[in-house]
């Protein structure tokens, strides 16, 4: 037996082709997801070098960032968006890359379809030109977002040069209270360690409260790792993980499954393995959360008050006040009861079937508030179909909501789904940056449950009021 090793090290070291002295590692990549926005320049670069795609079968493409969420059967109206999607189709055809395009039954947000199709499997290294690639860490993967130059490297060589991050462990013991979801855990952690607290690190989430999360919940949590600055986050795979992966389109079958299970069963951090940094939180301390500022670390319990800038350090005040001014809030304000205009449910953070179920169960038998415009956007075609099958769509419609077609939508507002200037949106996505959901839009990040409570009351509302 060697010395105790972390799960992260086991996967990283197992994929290291070579380590450069005082430099980055050459890391072999098992799975590469690509989409229309960050890939065209990479393909151009490849062509310029006369290179092809090294492993098309390790690459999967889908358009998601830039597509409309209605009338997907028609040609995309916006010429620039259409051009990007056409380029993706072209590049995939040229290089034999499997593509799940618009109207394909498997299309969706990259980070939703990867796990859904069984392409994401424990122990893999996974990259994508998108920072929320950290989502796939929920399966015990080393998964992280990369830039376009790196997309080109992976396309061309199936490898990437990466400095090895440090290791952090965040333990959450205890039981989550009623009405508290994985999203709240994520927002709570970031509010504690700040948006740069994880920088330079890869996080392993552990403890009873993490183990009790569903796979969807773990994906939500790992997804938000990047918002603490971390390269990624992972959870050691367990029975729940294997059960989720089993039987999916691209998961191993028969003997391959047996072999895979054998390999996957050792994917844990050994007792006594060392981390560069450790945090421990208690699940009972976490309430439903909501953000009030312009970065994901500016969050508080939904029953909380916006901190006064006088409570901050001198250097931080200017940015803090700028942020509150943008949001139209003042220090000392109570959040509950503030009127909101939009509710957005979707994105790779909370656009999976479990999120739609949670939202739908909450609003069942209630009515959408008059002042609310709601965009409910499934993360994929499969989620859309499942919502239809399970009868969620009918419940939503009865309450005055409708389901859009899948895509990133108002998470980054590259398509038509933009929150108008000055309007407040309670959003289940991951970023509340200035203008993220449209120029001048004001975003309040929250869980699908909080979004549901706000959607029926028209103002910031604690969902626990309705839970008995």
């Amino acid at each position: 037996m060697g010395h105790p090793t972390t799960l992260f090290d086991k996967i990283w070291d197992g994929h290291t082709v070579r380590s450069i002295d005082n430099g980055p590692s050459v890391l072999y990549i098992d799975r590469h997801y690509i989409h229309e926005v960050t890939s065209p320049v990479a393909f151009l670069g490849l062509a310029g070098r006369g290179l092809g795609v090294a492993c098309p079968d390790r690459t999967t493409a889908t358009p998601d960032h830039n597509i409309p969420t209605e009338n997907q059967h028609l040609s995309i109206k916006d010429a620039l968006s259409r051009n990007q999607v056409d380029m993706l189709i072209d590049n995939c055809q040229k290089h034999n890359i499997p593509l799940y395009g618009l109207n394909h039954k498997w299309q969706g947000i990259v980070h939703v379809i990867g796990p859904e199709l069984g392409l994401t499997q424990p122990g893999m290294t996974i990259v994508c030109g998108d920072s929320h690639t950290s989502t796939h860490g929920a399966f015990g993967c080393v998964a992280f977002g990369i830039g376009t130059s790196e997309v080109e490297m992976v396309l061309g060589t199936q490898c990437i040069l990466q400095p090895k991050p440090k290791k952090m462990r965040i333990k959450i013991d205890g039981h989550l209270k009623r009405g508290v979801t994985a999203k709240d855990v994520a927002l709570y952690i970031i509010s504690k360690i700040t948006t740069s607290g994880g920088t330079g690190h890869f996080i392993e989430y552990a403890g009873a409260a993490i183990e009790s999360l569903s796979m969807e919940g773990r994906m939500t949590l790992c997804n938000m790792s990047i918002e603490s600055g971390a390269r990624g986050g992972l959870v050691a795979p367990d029975e729940l993980t294997f059960e989720y992966v089993k039987g999916r389109e691209f998961s191993p079958k028969g003997m391959d499954w047996e072999n895979a299970m054998e390999k996957w069963s050792v994917l844990k951090t050994d007792e006594g393995a060392l981390f560069d940094k450790e945090y421990a939180f208690n699940a009972e301390d976490i309430d439903p959360m909501i953000t009030f500022g312009t970065n994901p670390g500016m969050g508080t319990s939904i029953t909380g008050y916006i901190p006064l800038s006088s409570s901050l350090e001198e250097g931080e005040k200017v940015s803090y006040e700028k942020s509150l001014e943008y949001m139209g809030f003042s220090g000392g304000d109570k959040l509950e009861g503030k009127t909101v205009d939009f509710v957005f449910v979707g994105s790779c953070t909370n656009g999976r079937i479990e999120d739609l179920r949670e939202f739908t169960h909450f609003i069942k038998g209630k009515k959408k508030a008059q002042n609310i415009t709601a965009w409910i956007v499934p993360g994929s075609k499969q989620v859309e179909a499942q919502a239809q099958e399970e009868g969620l769509v009918a419940i939503l419609e009865a309450a005055g909501f409708e389901l859009c077609q899948p895509g990133c939508s108002a998470c980054l507002a590259m398509n038509e789904d933009k929150i108008p200037t000055g309007k407040y949106a309670v959003s289940t996505s991951n970023r509340n940056f200035e203008g993220r959901q449209g120029p001048g839009a004001r975003t309040l990040l929250a869980s699908p449950l909080v979004a549901a409570a706000c959607a029926i009351s028209g103002k910031i509302t604690d969902p626990r009021q309705f839970l008995n």
Partner: protein, 196 residues
């Protein structure tokens, strides 16, 4: 596109003393629709630079004629958020060769280095001194010497050391790209692939 060699730069600087500048501010998503790496500098800090009617916002540093140069100085935690390499392209395309901060987000830092844009990470105290020196004299110049890993305030002669990964330093000094190195390992990579 091969990257330009970076050796030494002497220039005045543009200060953006805001913390947590995320890449959505550096280049908003609606400008990511291009399929070529061109023209992103025009939309650098678009929504901080122009109002809704496309009029320049006079208070913003990029619109103030007293500030110019190849050095961008930003507040703590620069480049957080989205992995869009367009952020590094936009800064470089605008004419900056160096970004200074007391803390950079990981992906932004990597993207900058892959494009010949040098991220210089100094201490918070040093950063404060630089902002003060620019406020004192917007024409103040600074010298960044990559070989010696120093950032010098020319007026006072104060010199700050900065860290950079030795491998990345070699790449920048010589204009090498990571992908060329990876391509040179083709055999080793196939060997690795067939033996796992």
């Amino acid at each position: 596109m091969p990257i330009e060699k970076f050796i030494k730069i002497n220039s005045s600087a543009v200060p953006i003393s805001i913390e947590n500048v995320d890449t959505d501010q550096i280049i908003p998503a609606r400008f990511l629709k291009a399929v070529e790496r061109k023209g992103f500098g025009d939309n650098l800090f678009r929504d901080w630079r122009y109002d809704k009617t496309n009029k320049p916002i006079v208070n913003f540093a990029l619109n103030q004629t007293k500030y110019a140069g190849q050095i961008l100085v930003g507040g703590k935690n620069f480049g957080s958020g989205s992995s869009r390499e367009h952020a590094a392209w936009a800064i470089y395309d605008y004419g900056f060769k160096v970004v200074v901060s007391s803390f950079f987000a990981d992906i932004f830092k990597g993207n900058a280095l892959n494009n010949g844009l040098l991220p210089v990470q100094l201490t918070q105290a040093e950063l404060v001194q630089i902002f003060a020196s620019i406020e004192d004299n917007p024409q103040a110049t600074f010298t960044i010497d990559l070989q010696n890993q120093t950032f010098v305030l020319d007026a006072s002669g104060s010199s700050f050391d900065f860290d950079i990964n030795p491998y990345k330093k070699e790449c920048l000094l010589n204009g090498y790209e990571d992908i060329d190195y990876l391509i040179s390992l083709e055999k080793e990579i196939s060997f690795f692939e067939s033996n796992r």
